[in-house]
């Protein structure tokens, strides 16, 4: 039995979520191969070859895969899938984009966002915004799975020495093309990978006030997130959203500032190790999940906390 893990990357860097996905593959058990589909993606293949537990790296390097358009990547994966019992990808926006397309072309159901492996065919996944956990057994000949990174501790990025094999298959569907992208530039860690996350909600009142969170985050080496309410109100961009409809995070420390604690927000952060809530409303539901609650005016408390650390 061999498992194909599809690398999450930007042609230059192998993203951390791939390490969690390899960890899920190890829990399933079997030979683990990593597919890097990209253009000029040799550095990614080199990084993947060093990942602990990986026995082979397949590098499909072609202009058709430069931006990992799902119309091109999916048929490539489908053709390779014949040799594998499982095909896994991180539940990143990229994995979520192409993997269901792969599953449909293979005529199998996809098991989305697993958080635990019970056996080679049985997995746990959250449903209803994490208010229920389903145990699902796949009877598909090829199990197609996205992996929620927070459910699995990452494997070591170093220590492996897998062979890199070139894949010459070129699938260019000609249905779509890349126009451009705007990526937020930040010196802070990425939300999904940060050990500490500071998030703001409607209590911040406007986008400008988020600067007090940035100051605190910089002191802690933290990423900054936001509730859906803050995103809907236009305070901050959507890629900062933590929740059922945004990013799922599980850092060592999560500091929720001016966030009431709607179900959909809790779904995105309740697996954090330690939760701190700062809110002026002592009845706010966020306090029901917080390890440490501080009731008061965030505009006084957050700068005070920043100075105290």
């Amino acid at each position: 039995m061999a498992i194909l893990v599809i690398a999450d990357h930007d042609n230059a860097n192998l993203f951390g979520a791939t390490l969690n996905t390899v960890a899920a593959a190890q829990a399933i058990g079997g030979d683990i191969h990593v597919l890097v589909a990209g253009q000029n993606a040799q550095p990614v293949a080199d990084a993947a070859a060093k990942v602990a537990g990986v026995s082979k790296v397949l590098l499909a390097d072609n202009a058709a895969y430069a931006h990992q358009l799902p119309e091109n990547v999916a048929p490539l994966v489908v053709e390779l899938a014949a040799h594998y019992s499982h095909v896994l990808a991180a539940a990143s926006t990229n994995g979520k984009n192409f993997l269901p397309r792969v599953a449909a072309l293979l005529d199998v159901d996809q098991i989305s966002e697993i958080i635990a492996v019970e056996s080679a065919d049985t997995f746990k996944r959250p449903i209803y915004a994490g208010n229920a956990i389903a145990t699902v057994r796949s009877t598909a000949p090829v199990k197609v799975i996205t992996v929620r990174a927070t459910g699995f501790d990452p494997v070591a990025a170093e220590g492996g020495s897998a062979a890199i094999e070139a894949v010459s298959l070129v699938k260019d569907a000609g249905l779509s093309s890349f126009v451009g992208e705007e990526l937020a530039k930040s010196d802070r860690p990425e939300l999904g990978a940060a050990k500490v996350v500071v998030s703001g909600g409607r209590g911040l009142q406007n986008g400008d006030n988020f600067k007090i969170l940035y100051a605190l985050a910089d002191k802690l080496g933290a990423a900054v997130g936001a509730s859906r309410a803050a995103v809907d109100a236009g305070f901050v961009p959507n890629d900062m959203q933590v929740g059922q409809t945004g990013k799922i995070v599980a850092p060592q420390l999560y500091i929720a500032v001016g966030i009431s604690g709607a179900i959909q927000h809790l779904a995105g952060m309740k697996d954090s190790k330690v939760i701190v809530a700062i809110n002026k409303d002592e009845e706010a539901p966020i306090f029901q999940v917080a390890d440490y609650g501080l009731v008061g005016d965030l505009f006084e408390l957050v700068p005070e906390l920043e100075k105290a650390i």
Binding site: H67, L69, P70, E71, T93, K96, N97, P100, R101, A103, A104, L105, D107, V108, D109, Q110, S112, T122, I127, Y128, A129, N131, A132, I133, A134, T135, V136, S138, A140, A173, L175, S176, S177, V179, G180, E181, L183, A184, E190, V231, D232, P237, N238, D239, Q244, L253, I263, K270, K273, V274, I275, F287, Q288, V289, A290, Y292, G293, L294, L305, A308
Partner: protein
């Protein structure tokens, strides 16, 4: 162009669901049901395309129980022209089955654009749109925050990890909606009345030649491990002390 919008009837997003004691699923008896929030955004986008003169006709479709007619009527009240119910009774539909049912409707209706929500808030699968694109061989623009006509095709701006990506799609295409694509309107009372007279056709999986099946089974459904409320600290100093010495996270 003709636009097909697929919607799903789900537990209202304000309802806190409870797991059934026998672990077979969540308790849906006497629970408020609504249109999935991402599907509302899909309907709104289609209506806006029609208002701009880009869409000529909006057909709304759902696969679900007979009661899902309520959600179709809502979509008709918001501006869809006619509706198709694929009556699947009480069957649980996998995303792949739903995609196959929708593909059969696409074959009949021949739309240039299909708009769906990116994810239903019950199963949280985030699959159906991508699967429909695969089965039809259409281009896909998932997690859209902007949809614009560009030449013979569409430019779709997508919400991705770390920012935004714009792709150009040939038509016909599938678009799935993210939160910031638009803010759905409310249906006015006159439009709700008018919607009752708009055509609603009922189909069955048999008539569409699709078998309702799944390549998985749900073994059990449990409540998540609960999280206990902690303590309230009185000051920033006490908080910092606890984080350093008790939780040891800073």
């Amino acid at each position: 162009m003709k636009v097909l919008v697929a919607v799903k009837r789900v537990v209202d997003y304000n309802v806190k669901v409870r797991v059934k004691a026998d672990q077979t699923g969540v308790d849906l008896a006497n629970v408020k049901m609504s249109m999935n929030p991402f599907c509302e955004i899909a309907v709104e986008e289609a209506v806006r395309l029609k208002e701009k003169g880009i869409a000529s006709e909006i057909v709304v479709v759902t696969a679900g129980p007979a009661q899902a007619q309520e959600q179709l009527r809502t979509a008709l009240a918001l501006g869809a022209d006619r509706a198709v119910l694929i009556d699947t009774g009480t069957a649980e539909l996998s995303s792949l089955t739903t995609a196959k049912l929708l593909k059969a409707v696409v074959d009949q209706e021949q739309p240039q654009l299909v708009i769906l929500g990116k994810q239903a808030i019950d199963s949280d699968n985030n699959q159906t749109g991508q699967m429909l694109a695969a089965l039809t061989g259409f281009a896909q623009g998932t997690f859209a925050s902007k949809v614009e006509q560009a030449g013979d095709g569409l430019n779709v701006t997508r919400e991705i990890d770390g920012g935004l990506q714009t792709v150009a799609l040939k038509l016909p295409a599938v678009v799935t909606t993210d939160l910031r694509l638009n803010e759905p309107r409310y249906a006015s009372l006159p439009n709700i009345m008018k919607a009752k007279k708009k055509p609603l056709e009922t189909l069955t999986p048999d008539a569409l030649g699709v078998a309702v099946k799944a390549s998985y089974e749900v073994v059990k459904v449990e409540a998540p491990a609960g999280r206990q409320a902690g303590i309230k600290v009185k000051s920033v100093a006490e908080l910092v002390e606890k984080l350093k010495n008790e939780a040891k996270v800073i």
